[in-house]
């Protein structure tokens, strides 16, 4: 039951983040949809972690070079998601207000993804089929 509650809370915050992103794109003052490309960053941000988890088998080591490389790339994707709307605003493709809304959406959604891994990423015996 705790898993379901966490899932509902995480999906709520994810929806809030996407709302911020869409507000930054679709408000009448802004109306430019280029910031939607940050969705790509949202999708690919957990992929290095998945790859590292599959590659490194021994779980008794507290860390490994592969997992740290995965953290490095994930950080890079997150930084890119924040840098992209700033660049768009600097070349005046989007307005600074839209950039702020997209950055807020970024923060909420990456916190959601982080929360997803904190809640469901623990314990290997907890599989996806259980809920």
């Amino acid at each position: 039951m705790a898993g379901v509650k966490a899932l509902v809370a995480l999906s709520f915050s994810g929806a809030i983040g996407l709302t911020f992103l869409m507000l930054g794109c679709a408000l009448e003052d802004y109306g430019v949809y280029w910031p939607l490309f940050v969705l790509i960053f949202y999708v690919i941000s957990p992929i290095p972690y998945f790859i590292a988890k599959r590659v490194t088998y021994d779980s008794d080591a507290t860390s490994s070079a592969c997992r740290e490389l995965a953290y490095f790339f994930t950080t890079g994707i997150v930084v890119s998601a924040f840098g992209f709307p700033v660049i768009l605003a600097r070349v005046a493709v989007i307005k600074w207000g839209a950039c702020g809304l997209v950055l807020a959406g970024n923060a909420v959604i990456f916190l959601t993804i982080q929360g997803f891994f904190l809640v469901f990423g623990r314990g290997d015996d907890f599989s996806w089929e259980q809920w």
């Binding site: 080591a61 507290t62 860390s63 490994s64 070079a65 740290e68 490389l69 953290y71 490095f72 790339f73 994930t74 950080t75 890079g76 930084v79 890119s80 840098g83 700033v86 660049i87 600097r90 070349v91």
Partner: protein, 157 residues
């Protein structure tokens, strides 16, 4: 009471020790990719050759290659106490790391040269691309240093 405090402090210390590699990796990632986004910013705002000569991008590329070279060898391989010898052994690892650090320092110095020789000394009206090149290389350089020396290899065993 005192025992409780002691336990809390010790557990925090342990937590930091286990999280150290993760934090160093994240800090290095922030530095490295912030550097690249700075140069993307400059390249997008000044697309012309007069304001921002495109050959200046080579500096950041060399810094990135140096970053990869520095972090491709572990400290254990250089010291010679790793389990496997690798393809070139300890000497090869040392030469590889030496070349990597030479490229890293070289790109940092070259970026300063670009800033001063290409923009400040010529008294160009727009100096921002030179500053962007310098900051890009500085961020990549320090990101590489954090990724190399901020992590400890004791956690890998």
């Amino acid at each position: 009471m005192s025992g409780f405090l002691e336990g809390a402090r010790c557990s925090e210390c342990m937590d930091w020790g286990e999280k150290r590699n993760t934090i160093a990796s994240i800090a290095a990632g922030i530095l490295f990719f912030t550097g690249w986004w700075i140069i993307i910013d400059a390249a997008v705002i000044y697309p012309n050759m007069e304001e921002f000569n495109h050959s200046y991008h080579a500096c950041g590329v060399i810094a990135t290659i140096a970053f990869l070279m520095i972090n491709a060898v572990s400290n254990g391989q250089v010291r010679g106490d790793s389990y496997s010898e690798g393809c070139l052994g300890q000497t090869g690892a040392r030469i590889w790391l030496f070349i990597g650090f030479m490229l890293a320092f070289g790109s940092l110095i070259a970026s300063m040269w670009i800033l001063f020789g290409g923009y400040v000394a010529k008294e160009k009206p727009i100096v921002y691309p030179g500053i962007a090149v310098f900051f890009q290389n500085a961020f990549i350089f320090f990101g590489g240093l954090v990724f190399k020396f901020g992590r400890t290899e004791d956690l890998w065993q």
